[in-house]
Homo-oligomer: 323 residues x 2
């Protein structure tokens, strides 16, 4: 069935120890012996058992990712990029989705799997990240907001993202801003809200409306209707997500022309370019985010001991055709 290192050893007339040394990289093994061993490995199609390896050296070459699809607007992009980057670093990815299990249980499961490191993405401020508990493995909080004192943290500066959106709108002539986002119910929403407050204060812009609720088309539509029914409707919408922005975009009549309020979305989802009129939105640096996370994690795996880092990457504004 399975070909073990003993089979190879027998085939090459050497001891398993020698085979292991060849595998490790011809450290101190006679060139011709090494060659003979390699031939046998090739012939038998031997592949070392990762499980046995993991047990012996106390590393599994495995990273755990705890995320759920709605924990982050770009969760899919995160998983994809991370999986690639880890593969390049010879690491495998264990995926733990927080569906029916509580966050802590998933983390425990992955730790029991002996992952070498953990990357956590939490969407709600209510879920607590483990306080580096139990196993002494590096834990990295990915876009979980600032104030992550216990762990390394790599995140997007969502406050800056919303600030850019507001500055853009004001520069375009907007005077009465409406904000529709998630608010403090989500980690990202809370930061966005901070950014919104800061930007409007800085620019002395009128906050015409602040509507906090789920990032759904339904919520966006109902709030929009109420705002339009008011006697001084906003001339620009700052949205906490592209879904909200797209919903508003679709609900507003196209024919308004110059009268049409400005809209800025958030997230730069792949499909926003398909909307008409095209949306202006804020692009999250997901690739950089993940790359940076992997870089930090690898440093930790390499044994670096230092205070937790906190890296915040700035998003950038993507202009739609409206500008």
């Amino acid at each position: 069935m399975g070909i073990t290192i003993y089979d190879v050893a027998a085939g090459a007339q050497v001891s398993p120890a020698t085979v292991s040394r060849v595998l490790a990289g011809g450290n101190s093994v006679a060139p011709e012996t090494a060659e003979r061993v390699r031939t046998v490995i090739e012939r038998l199609g031997y592949r070392p058992d990762r499980v046995a390896q993991s047990l012996r050296r106390q590393r599994s070459g495995t990273i755990g990712l705890v995320i759920s699809v709605d924990a982050h607007p770009a969760s899919s992009a995160i998983i994809d990029r991370l999986s690639r980057r880890l593969a390049e670093a010879e690491l495998s990815l264990f995926l733990g989705t927080t569906g029916h299990e509580p966050f802590g249980a998933v983390v425990d499961r992955l730790i029991a799997q002996r992952v070498d490191g953990l990357i956590l993405v939490r969407g709600r401020p209510t879920v607590d990240l483990p306080a580096s508990d139990g196993a002494e493995i590096p834990i990295l909080a990915l876009d979980c907001g600032h104030g992550e004192l216990h762990h390394d943290s790599v995140r997007v500066d969502h406050a800056a993202g919303i600030r850019q959106a507001v500055r853009f709108l004001v520069k375009e002539g907007a005077r009465r801003l409406a904000y529709i986002g998630e608010g403090t119910a989500s980690v990202i929403g809370a930061e966005q809200l901070d950014g919104y407050a800061a930007a409007t204060a800085e620019l002395e812009t009128q906050q015409a409306a602040l509507r906090l609720g789920p990032a759904s088309a339904h919520f966006a539509n109902s709030e929009l209707q109420r705002l339009l029914a008011g006697d001084d409707p906003p001339d620009a919408y700052v949205c906490g997500s592209d879904v909200v922005a797209a919903a508003i975009n679709a609900a507003l009549p196209v024919e308004l022309g110059e009268e049409r309020p400005l809209i800025v979305g958030y997230g730069a989802m792949p499909w926003v370019s398909l909307m008409r009129p095209a949306l202006t939105t804020v692009r999250l640096p997901i690739e950089e985010l993940v790359d940076e996370a992997v870089r930090v994690l690898q440093q930790r795996l390499g044994g670096l001991r230092s205070d937790p880092v906190d890296i915040a990457l700035p998003p950038s504004l993507i202009l739609g055709e409206t500008s």
Copy 2:
């Protein structure tokens, strides 16, 4: 650092064997001994090492998924659902993304990780699924098309999906159909094309145009321009993806009214409901697909030996507001 079964054994004044028996489920252990052991386990916070367990029993409780984000239009939904379902079955998910590595290499990596089973999603017909090679673990092809003779196969009946789209359009009065899809370059595209050919033949509908290319907005737009420039433009568009449908939807002027061609997309991506005018599209039964896959795989893990199954699930039409 880590607490082992020996620590528990010492704490409870028993042998590791007894602790193991308690863990396995009080098989033949005196109730009071079991209770003592459980107390110690609780007190020390002992969690059995999955790596050591995997080595000893020859199962890891782990399933490998090989997929890349563009291998399937609903890859994100697949990963999410699968992760949940596996967690419910006490299985962990190893994710192998086919980015810079060839498909076979990823499969090998996962097999070396000693996964108990593999689920493969391939997007291109050119990548070959392994012929049950090497390790004797169950392999399941997920939406990899029919004709998967070596492995269990659970898939969506994409031919039926396109057939429904065509029937709908013809029923709505369409006479000159255009098809814009991926063609045989992708597994799904090939089946869709079959379905299109079958449906148009059955309904004796005129195939006004057949444009095969990437599922991108760019390709959709350029083909649309050419079709519109022709002297007898189509009155309905059958699209192989929602992206193509949305691009066409956005590019066609809204004001056409009754003259506006009908459009049907494919995939029912979450964002299609945000398009205006709303898109009619074909919904893929991703949840059922994954659930069925997990069911089949669990049967195999349970030791069921029988010929490979081939399960095809029908998609369903989602009407937009145009109908």
